[in-house]
């Protein structure tokens, strides 16, 4: 018994210390987020194993399992149109715009997940592989303003591993045809 006690006490101290640390770190983070103005809610999604994000205020809704109807005579990256509760909405392939191949679309042209944007004039959407998360993060804007990826942000994924996600600029993604990403 006498042997175990100090051992236990030691463990206990250790655990408490760790807890305190975590707590402090959390508080630090809270202070950090409050202190910085540029904190945004960002919707994260996966495209070919790569994570991207879009500020939530630019998004109208997320749709799932919608049939995409191809429209003849459109640009290559335009996948077609979808019916969102009676509204016709154009869908594009974001990977093609980023110069990274094509998004996989399921059988019978049924899309996995779609992100519909707002404030772009027309009703416009992109296809993604999977919507993963909604995070609160700070976006550091790129100095190169002509890129579709307008900035980067950090995300914590699962076991404390930080990941960098590219934040897309919907305006450039849909309209700026002069900039073709060649990363």
């Amino acid at each position: 018994m006498g042997d175990i006690r100090p051992d236990f006490e030691e463990k206990r101290q250790e655990i408490l210390k760790a807890c305190k640390k975590v707590h402090e770190k959390e508080q630090e983070e809270v202070v950090e987020t409050i202190g910085k103005e540029n904190v945004q809610l960002v919707l994260c999604f996966r495209l070919n194993e790569q994570l991207y994000g879009v500020e939530i205020e630019q998004i109208r809704e997320i749709a799932k399992n919608v049939e995409i109807y191809p429209v003849p005579g459109t640009k290559e990256f335009v996948l077609g149109v979808i019916n969102i509760r009676g509204e016709i909405c154009a869908v594009i392939d974001p990977l093609m715009r980023l110069g990274k191949g094509r998004v996989q679309i399921g059988n019978n042209n049924m899309s996995k997940e779609l992100i519909v944007f707002k404030n772009l004039g027309d009703s416009l959407a992109i296809v993604v592989d999977e919507v993963t998360d909604l995070i609160e993060t700070q976006i550091s804007l790129d100095t190169n303003t002509s890129s579709i990826i307008k900035g980067k942000a950090k995300t914590l994924e699962g076991n404390d591993k930080e990941k960098i996600i590219g934040i897309l600029d919907p305006e450039k993604l849909f309209f700026d045809f002069e900039t073709q990403e060649d990363i």
């Binding site: 191809p70 003849p72 005579g73 640009k75 335009v78 019916n83 404030n119 700026d176």
Partner: protein, 716 residues
């Protein structure tokens, strides 16, 4: 002032009177007014001043200015209140007398035009009463909202039609049920000869009750439908009619336009307009305005000769220009015709050669028909016979854009020329774009709709009738050999295997045959627009089936333009390349007008639309920001004094927004002190124009400069 304001005087008068009533009432309440009230009143007086300026009544404008000062005095509380209020009331009365004088004058002019002048006195009182009547019956609704309402109504009608369709299914189900009931009854009778168990008896009763209930439900359903059907049909008819606008809405501006162009080119032109009373969907009317102005410009610039040349040719000194509209079934034909020199074939050929295009068969037939290759050349982008680029025409974008605009509306364009006797351009347009008779077909794995008025023939595909002509397949249909296309290839779909039908599409002189997989049905659909973002030539809209499926409505006029599959792939690539540039640089510049006064808004809108811009308007800074958030604009034209958010604030907000900060901003105001102007530039405006002394000319110059060079050096 450089433009015709008579159209606006009437609405100015009625709005101004309302404003005076408001001011008068407020002045009488003098003591109890709050700071906000005063601000509102001063704005009211200020707007009146601006409007009066815009329509050219300087005296009223000056008086309103004084009124503004009086209210300021009243608010500051300097001087004797009652005497100020007296002055305000006196002023309001004076303005009112002035307005009445103007009204009588315009009434008088109207009477003179309409009736014998001697009856003027007698007719006047009657007219005034009548006018009041109609005024009460007109309700102002924002066009956006109105469009939404009609769109929704049409969709409701569509949904109802689909419910009717399911009604058919229901009826079939009911008759099936009564069959089952009879069958059961017979079995039951056979059973009842023996001993019936109580269970069976129970079931028999239940079944009968159920059948009775269904029959009851059916009769209710039927009567509900038959009650609603005529109402719904009326709704559709009313909606379609409410969207109609007479062509005179755009035609009315042409005499001034023609006068302006002719004067600038030193030509004499008599304009004859007919058919202004013909009504079309307002979207179509608005969409053809610019193409028509293009054609008019072309006719005066290229077609009609100078008076001297005309004299030499033995023609009348003054040239003639006809704009004729007539209705033909579900179509409207608009002709723009001049009695000028006609198309100069030698010049066209020269120009084509210089551009490196070698085309024989550039022929104009005796009957005025142009050969296909000549037409194609004239309508191709970048083609103009003018040697120098003038600001009237000859920029080489004219005919190309006209054609594009007409095709977009599912219309057709043709051109005829007679040497030294003139040129005639004929436009064929549908009356409405909302409702359309279509044939639903399957091509490869996809369902499409085709407007039926393009369909000339449908036959079974017989491969023995196909013959190759210089490597291009043709098919013999009714003793006519037509070019044959595989629609799935044109639409860039996976090639279909079982081509069963051949559709003959086109019009008399221009027919082509297309292979398709299946005919599904013929029906009337409500056309839903597709996002303009798609920029496709092949699809003009869509319709949604009851199960939510989308069927795209093909733009047949564009599909018919395809010559051979080889040239298709080339042209479509070319087109696409052009379009990327077009989107960013050459699309119609879009202007946002921000002003709280309706008259200023509509006046500016009129000027800018006829100058070839796309125009949206907002009534205050807040609304403007909303629109700027939703849409992209190339220029903002704003007033300063406005409720909710004024022009200074709006300019500041735009300049501080990352996305919007580079939009050129023009302030158009009746504030004219140096301080105001300084403040305007300080918050970030690019230009400052004064309502009092600006002209159409300067406004457009300033806009063009800002659009093309980013800055203008125009200082008032």
């Amino acid at each position: 002032m450089g433009f015709n304001t008579t159209k606006f005087i009437e609405s100015f008068l009625s709005v101004a009177k309302d404003r005076l009533v408001k001011l008068e009432k407020a002045a009488l309440e003098g003591d109890s007014l709050s700071k906000e009230d005063f601000e509102g009143l001063m704005r009211e007086a200020h707007t009146l001043k601006g409007e009066a300026r815009m329509v050219g009544f300087k005296d009223i404008s000056d008086m309103s200015h004084q009124l503004e000062d009086f209210f300021l005095e009243l608010q500051q509380g300097t001087g004797d209140k009652t005497s100020i209020i007296d002055k305000i009331l006196e002023h309001i009365q004076n303005i009112r007398t002035k307005l009445e004088k103007i009204e009588n004058k315009t009434q008088g002019e109207k009477n003179l035009q309409g009736e014998n002048s001697s009856q003027k006195e007698k007719a006047k009182p009657k007219r005034v009463i009548k006018r009041k009547d109609t005024k009460d019956k007109i309700l102002r609704v924002r066009s956006e909202r109105f469009k939404k309402i009609t769109d929704l109504s049409i969709e409701t009608v569509c949904a109802f039609k689909q419910i009717e369709q399911t009604g058919l299914l229901f009826r079939r189900l009911c008759s099936k049920l009564s069959e089952i009931r009879i069958e059961w009854d017979q079995t039951y009778i056979q059973f009842s000869k023996g001993n019936i168990s109580t269970d069976l008896n129970e079931f028999h009763k239940k079944l009968h009750q159920f059948c009775d209930l269904v029959t009851k439900l059916r009769s209710r359903y039927d009567s509900a439908l038959s009650l609603a059907a005529p109402t719904v049909n009326n709704l559709l008819v009313e909606c379609l009619e409410a969207r109609m606008r007479p062509l005179s809405r755009i035609f009315d501006a042409y005499p001034a336009e023609v006068h302006r162009i002719a004067a600038r080119l030193g030509k004499k032109v008599n304009l004859h307009i007919s058919g202004g009373e013909i009504e079309l969907d307002r979207d179509i009317v608005e969409a053809i305005n610019e193409p028509l102005i293009h054609l008019v410009r072309n006719a005066i610039d290229h077609g009609i000769e100078s008076p001297e040349q005309r004299e030499i040719k033995g023609k009348d000194y003054t040239g003639n220009l006809w704009i004729k509209a007539k209705r033909q079934g579900q179509k409207v034909i608009i002709e723009v015709e001049d009695d000028g020199r006609g198309i100069d074939i030698a010049k066209v050929r020269n120009k084509a050669l210089r551009k490196g295009i070698i085309l024989d068969k550039l022929i104009i037939e005796q009957d005025g028909h142009l050969s296909e290759s000549l037409k194609k050349l004239l309508f191709s982008s970048g083609f103009s016979t003018k040697d120098e680029i003038s600001d009237i025409s000859g920029r080489g974008v004219g005919m190309d854009t006209v054609k594009e605009a007409i095709y977009k509306l599912n219309g057709a364009i043709d051109i005829f020329s007679y040497k030294d006797r003139g040129t005639k351009v004929v436009l064929e347009l549908p009356i409405s774009l909302a409702l359309m008779q279509v044939l639903i077909i399957r091509v490869s794995d996809h369902i499409f709709s085709l407007p039926t008025h393009w369909i000339k023939d449908i036959v079974f595909f017989d491969s023995s009738k196909v013959l190759e002509h210089e490597g291009i397949p043709k098919i013999l249909i009714n003793n006519e050999s037509l070019y044959l296309f595989d629609l799935s290839k044109i639409l860039n779909l996976t090639p279909s295997k079982n081509k069963t039908f051949v559709l003959v599409l086109g019009h008399e002189r221009h027919k082509k045959a297309f292979l398709i997989d299946e005919l599904i049905t013929q029906t009337e659909v409500i056309l839903k627009p597709i996002p303009s973002y798609l920029e496709t030539d092949f699809v003009m809209g869509s319709n949604i089936f009851e199960n939510g499926q989308i069927s795209l409505v093909l733009n047949v006029s564009n599909i018919l333009r395809i010559d051979t599959l080889e040239s298709l792939t080339k042209t479509s690539k070319l087109n696409k390349k052009n379009k990327y540039i077009k989107h960013s640089k050459y699309s119609k510049p879009k202007i946002l007008i921000v002003d709280d006064a309706l008259i200023t808004r509509s006046l500016l809108k009129n000027i800018l639309i006829s100058a070839g811009y796309e125009v949206n308007s907002a009534t205050n800074g807040m609304e403007a920001l909303e629109q700027l958030g939703r849409d992209r604009f190339d220029i903002v034209l704003t007033d300063l004094e406005m409720p909710i958010m004024d022009g200074y604030e709006l300019t500041k907000k735009i300049r501080s927004n990352e996305r919007l900060k580079n939009i050129p901003i023009i302030i158009l105001s009746s504030h004219e002190t140096q301080d105001d102007i300084k403040k305007g530039f300080a918050v970030g405006a690019d230009e400052y124009l004064q309502k009092g002394n600006f002209t159409q000319q300067t406004l457009i110059e300033v806009i063009e400069q800002l659009l093309h060079h980013g800055t203008s050096n125009y200082i008032v």
